[in-house]
Amino acid sequence: MGRVMTWLRRGLCGAGLLAFGLVFLELCLRLGNPQVIEPRNTTGTPWGVRGNMPGLTYYHQTPFGPIRFRINHQGMRADYDYPEAPAPGVCRIEVYGDSFLMGYEVQEPDTFAQQLGAALKARGLDVEVLNLSVSGFGQAEMLLTYEAQGRRFHPSVVVASWHYTDLDDNPRSQLFKLTREGLARNQPTYMPSVDLQRGLSGNRLYTWLSENSQLWSYGREHLGYQVRKLLAAVRKGDAAEPDAAVGEGTGQGAPDSQAKALSQALLTEFDGKVRGDGAAFVVVAIPKHPSRDVYEPASELLPAPFWSKFDLVEPTPMLKKAASGGKVFNDRGGAMHFTPRGNRLVAALTAEHLVTSPALQRCRALPSAGARQARLERGFAVGHALNEAD
């Protein structure tokens, strides 16, 4: 009995110390290095990749306040569902990207998609922008989502992001591989940790921690980062094998070259599919942002001649120039996603590319006097976004 009591006492002491330690570290983070709490809330889709949990409303806790996420029943960040056919005279633009274009750390009206819609409307185009971005997406997942879901909504333009993380994301998903014949499907599905999250999401403690604990969020982000790094290292080791799935028959030696070749093939395929459906395809490059006024162009990760085939929006020079003047386009206090100002600027640049796109000209409406006035005001806002960068 005495022994049991001793162990019980020890167990209680251990649990108490553990609880004290966790609370202590939570306080340390909250006081010394506040973290964003960004639960991802993704689920599996019938087409084998991740998607936002349909019909869910949740919040991200950031140093700038809570950010509301409303996911419609079609898995898009929107307050309402979209009919499959657009309204007459309205052009649809679909946005595919990762957390940047999904609008992490900004409210929905400040997302790239909403800002792009506002900018084009201000230029007299009647557009509707559907945001099909999902945090963590690379081109492989974007392509499959477009094929299975996006094309049902009849877009006139598809905007896809190109981010430096895609070089890791695309090979890691193993959804596609390069063969002698070109791009080919590989694994049927890629839904990392979806089952785990589905299992855990029913657990109240997990839900509470993921929505409220900065320590939990910090640990999860860092663990995820390290796991991704490890997988990338293992993948590079595998890819060094001449018969490895990625890069098979490409003649590419270094693993990085294989990742680049795969990404190029995916972008080309995506472009071909979109154009085949009669829509325009635009790529927005999301720059790497290692420190306050350093922006590294993501487009430079792939060879310049490759981009000549694409309608590419490269905001890096403008971001760099404006950031050197003290403007903040990425949340340094958060997870470095775009601020509303950053989204506005990139959207304005994209709108500049699209405003003369033949794919959108049929949507150029003749506005009423009141609408003209409203557009003028919005136009001023768009012009202001671009002027801000100067």
Binding site: G21, L215, A233
Partner: protein, 526 residues
């Protein structure tokens, strides 16, 4: 594999349970230690495991022979088979450079011939022959992989005419991580065996585990066989207290590295890499930042190594003892990189004559030892100059009999002299760090000249140094002033709660202040 990398924690997650399972069987434990140490080292580049294996195989038999023990054929066969097995495995893992296997087979042939020669020597010379085999092998590896390129570049003006002064054929040899550490440790063991200060055993498994022990393989401490080797020859108890104090020490080292060293690296790099247009204050701040960066980088690694070893039941020597509170250069070297300075003392300074033969001979021996110690740190003239500066300072003070005179003083005079001596010592140390960190003499001169400019001495310039180094310095000052705060192996062990709280504070500081861009350990380059 870096201690501050994610992959290392994955490695630990796999290693720890296996170690706990194997720790009650000596062979199983040591085999696991060999395998895990080789994975730890090979993660960087599998091919260089061959060098670790060469050093292991040669010193295994060399130490036996140098101690006067009979080197049996089975011992030689074991060492050759070990080398061959590691070579094949590492080449297969690296998936390239198959020629290494052929090279090692050829080297084994030469090795067999040399051994055949050594065993035919008269008994009185045989021990020396084995010692020479160890010295030539280890110093040969060092010479080729660390100094050959430097030597060829330095002597190019002499022989360059033969190639039309084309330097493109000078090989750029990759320096294997930790080479200087494990070769010195191996040499030390063989010399101790030769001197009779250590009795080498015949278990190759135990020795290979000792030689490649991953907590200290790549950046020390350079252990003495008499201290560490016996720990590989018996089972070690592991208590909860050891686990907690080891974890606490590891985390303290990690905090020094990630919070202090990596953040100060930004300040130091800014000055040394871009000296143009910097103010005098910025130069001084950069030099001070580097002084603490290198201290926290290296002592942090040593703490991590000791902490990790303690969690496994091993005891590694203390490598740093508040060096920035040393009042003379010789005392500084009794507190800085203690495992190297004692190695240099025992295997270089004393064999050179040490303090015997008068003041001038002592000064010469000090100078030679420190210059070679400087060269140990890196194949560059700036390291030689750094060693020479420390050697000259120590030699000068020895000629003046400074340490003894300082001790003889009393009262206020003594305090004043101590303070003056401290300031001069720190001046030597800090100027030495300029040479150590600079990419060239030109760079060093630029930083030294810049530091004399009376501009830019404002709070903002020095804020990062004060913020990151200040608290650590205060903590060490407290430990220096109150000996009761020092950890003593014979004193009352600190309570579990204290270790727990220390670990929590270290983790808290890492969570809040760790540098955004982690850096590699400086001493990995040595």
């Amino acid at each position: 594999m870096l201690f501050n990398s994610g992959v290392f924690f994955v490695f630990l997650l796999v290693f720890a349970p296996l170690y706990m399972l194997s720790r009650r069987d000596l062979t199983a434990r040591n085999v696991l230690l060999i395998l895990s140490s080789y994975v730890f080292y090979g993660w960087w580049d599998w091919r260089f495991l061959v060098l670790v294996a060469v050093s292991t195989s040669v010193d295994y038999v060399a130490a036996l022979g140098a101690s006067g023990k009979d080197v049996r054929r089975v011992d030689i066969a074991k060492s050759g088979a070990f080398l061959l097995a590691v070579t094949v495995a590492s080449v297969l893992l690296a998936r390239r450079d198959l020629w290494i296997i052929g090279g090692v087979l050829a080297a084994l042939g030469v090795y067999a011939a040399i051994i055949a020669g050594v065993v035919r020597l008269p008994a009185d010379r045989q021990r020396k022959g084995w010692l020479m085999l160890s010295l030539v092998t280890n110093l040969g590896i060092l010479a080729i992989f660390k100094y050959l390129t430097f030597f060829l570049k330095t002597t190019e003006p002499i022989w360059g005419g033969l190639t039309g002064h084309r330097q493109d054929w000078i090989p750029l040899i990759l320096l294997p991580v930790g080479l200087s550490f494990y070769t010195f440790q191996a040499i030390g063991r063989t010399i101790d065996s030769y001197r009779g200060a250590f009795d080498p055993q015949r278990s190759l498994v135990n020795y290979a585990a000792y030689h490649a022990f991953f907590p200290q393989l790549v950046a020390g401490p350079i252990e003495r066989a008499a201290h560490l080797m016996p720990q590989f020859e018996r089972l070690l108890p592991i208590s909860g207290r050891m686990l907690l104090s080891g974890t606490s020490l590891f985390l303290f080292g990690l905090m020094k590295k990630m919070v202090v060293a990596d953040n100060l690296a930004v300040v130091a790099d800014g000055v040394f890499n871009h000296p143009a247009g910097q103010t005098g204050g910025a130069f001084v701040a950069g030099v001070l930042a580097f002084s603490f960066q290198i201290y926290c980088d290296f002592s942090g690694y040593s703490d991590m190594a000791r902490g990790l070893a303690r969690c496994l039941g091993f005891d590694l020597m203390v490598n740093f003892s508040r060096p920035y509170f040393a009042t003379t250069p010789s005392r500084f070297w009794r507190r800085w990189h203690i495992s190297l300075s004692t190695w240099l003392r025992d295997y270089l300074y004393i064999p050179l004559g040490g303090g015997r033969g008068g003041k001038w001979n002592t000064a010469r021996n000090l100078l030679v030892t420190m210059v070679l110690g400087g060269l140990w740190h890196g194949a560059a003239w700036t390291f030689v100059a750094w060693g020479a500066l420390h050697g000259a300072a120590q030699a000068l003070l020895r000629l003046l009999d400074w340490d003894r005179r300082l001790e003889a003083l009393r009262g206020a005079v003594r305090a004043g002299a101590q303070a003056g001596s401290y300031l001069l010592t720190m001046l030597v140390v800090v100027v030495g760090w300029i040479l150590f960190r600079a990419s060239s003499f030109g760079n060093a001169l630029e930083v030294m000249r810049g530091s004399l400019a009376p501009t830019g001495y404002d709070g903002a310039t020095f804020a990062p140094v004060l913020l990151y180094a200040g608290p650590l310095l205060l903590f060490e000052a407290a430990v220096e002033l109150w000996p009761r705060l020092r950890a003593s192996p014979h004193g009352k062990p600190a309570s579990l709660l204290l270790h727990y709280q220390a670990a929590l504070i270290s983790v808290g500081l890492i969570l809040c202040f760790a540098a955004e861009a982690p850096k590699q350990f400086i001493y990995f380059d040595f």
